[in-house]
Amino acid sequence: MGQHDLTGTPAPARWAAVAAQVTGPAHAQAGGECEDSFAAASTADGEHCFLVVADGAGSAARASTGSRLAARAALHALLLHAPQAPADWETVARAVFTTARDALVLAAAAAGGELRALHTTLLVAGVVQVGDERRLVAAGIGDGAIVVGDASGFRAVAVTPRGEYANETVFLTDGRFADRIALHVESAPDLRALAVMSDGVEALAVEGRGTRPVAGFFGKLVDHLAEGGDPQAISQVLSSDRAALQSDDDKTLLMLVPDRRTEP
């Protein structure tokens, strides 16, 4: 782990969200828009913070609309439900996914189109406070990854069940979605960083079918941000030629890191 070992850095009192997003070269060349969406917010009292990333399917006609609606609806539902039942993540997460899916069902009906035109993944993660205990919560459907950094290093959580094939997944908009939601909750007193990413970033930064984060990648990002580095640099990494060769898909990386303004 070396220089990326997070042991010894204090657990932060407050968090800052950092986002980087680049349109994949394939979409950019075709004059298309980014089909990933993200959203992040904390409750007014700062007790609970959430990150949301949705990746509209490349094969879907209205992919960017699907991901945008899903991300927005999910964040609203998180802010609504999580403070009421912070200790019951499964119930909250299922309500969040159902709300987001309902938003897409309504949008498809309003447009007189098929739900599959709005195919999107949905990943949510955050930090909730349950009494004196800080918990890390995560849930997802479809590919992409949620990576946690703490005193023991970096690891993937709420790893969604993968099908046999690399480019096929189950979306929020699929019939079987409720069975395929991956859920994770843990007590997280040592949490130092949380990252949620679309599969374009997963291709660069997580090996072994979404299970093994590349410690060097996340370690360097966390170090960079901890030293007050410009968050823009992350977008530059994601839009590099090397990143494009790994995946020409859209790339979205949303992170929670210690808020430097509140650090000593």
Binding site: A26, D55, A57, G58, S59, R116, H119, T121, G142, D143, G163, E164, Y165, A166, N167, E168, T169, V170, F171, T173, D174, G175, R176, D199, G200, A203, E207, G208, R209, L245, S247, D248, D249
Partner: protein
């Protein structure tokens, strides 16, 4: 101790997800003359066009099974290393046996991907004939139906010329209707195949549920080289 194999090293050097495609090609006597010449030209085009694509060249993998007699003319190799060999006409048309050999080859390859922790895309089996089978195809039909139902592979049937047995091709490619090649437009067909493999080898996600329900994939139009009748 882990066994060190050339294959293992190939995967270690190239960890890219693989997009396997096996061509099952009829090279029986009736293909002699202009058809086999055009087919060989088409394969050379496939080699050239795949290599032009910086992503596909390290992700698309090609294998060739010829019949008859059934022969693995080319085991799976990444497009970058694929060299189109000259195929020669020989023998009869054991189409059923050839398709089974191809489906076996696919399963063996997928196991190698899994053993080496390499992601992969749904394999394509590209079955092309200008005639009718000279062997019984019942077992092959069952394997084909099972492959489609279980999502093991997608089988495409291509008929060449007026004597191609489209009914048999339909039985052996139950996921989608067979296509009939326009004349000897092998070059156009392989250009299309190259283009669609290039598209597939990028991570443009599709729904697993849609694929199993045979929702049409967003592929380039085939009307430049094929008809559905």
């Amino acid at each position: 101790m882990t066994e060190l194999t050339a294959e293992g090293l190939d995967f270690a050097v190239n960890q890219e997800p693989r997009c396997p495609c096996v061509l099952v090609l009829d090279v029986s006597g009736s293909m002699s003359g202009e058809p086999i010449r055009a087919l060989n030209e088409g394969l050379a085009t496939l080699q050239a066009t795949l290599r032009e694509d910086p992503i596909a060249r390290s992700r698309v993998e090609l294998a060739i099974v010829t019949f008859g007699p059934v022969r693995i003319a080319q085991d799976f190799v990444v497009a970058d290393e694929f060299v189109a060999q000259q195929l020669h006409v020989d023998g009869s048309t054991p189409m059923g046996e050839a398709l089974i050999a191809a489906l076996d080859l696919v399963e063996t390859r997928k196991q190698a991907y899994r053993d080496n922790d390499v992601n992969y895309y749904r394999p394509w089996v590209w079955l092309m004939t200008d005639g009718a089978p000279t062997d019984k195809i019942d077992a092959a039909q069952e394997r084909a139906a099972d492959a489609e139902r279980q999502g093991r592979a997608s089988i495409y049937g291509i008929g060449v010329g007026d004597d191609a047995d489209m009914t048999t091709l339909a039985r052996l490619s139950p996921g989608r209707p067979p296509l009939r090649l326009k004349g000897l437009a092998f070059q156009e067909m392989f250009r299309w195949l190259s283009k669609s493999q290039s598209q597939r080898s990028r991570s443009s996600n599709t729904s697993e549920v849609d694929v199993l329900q045979h929702q049409p994939l967003a592929l380039p139009p085939v009307d430049g080289w094929a008809s559905t009748t």
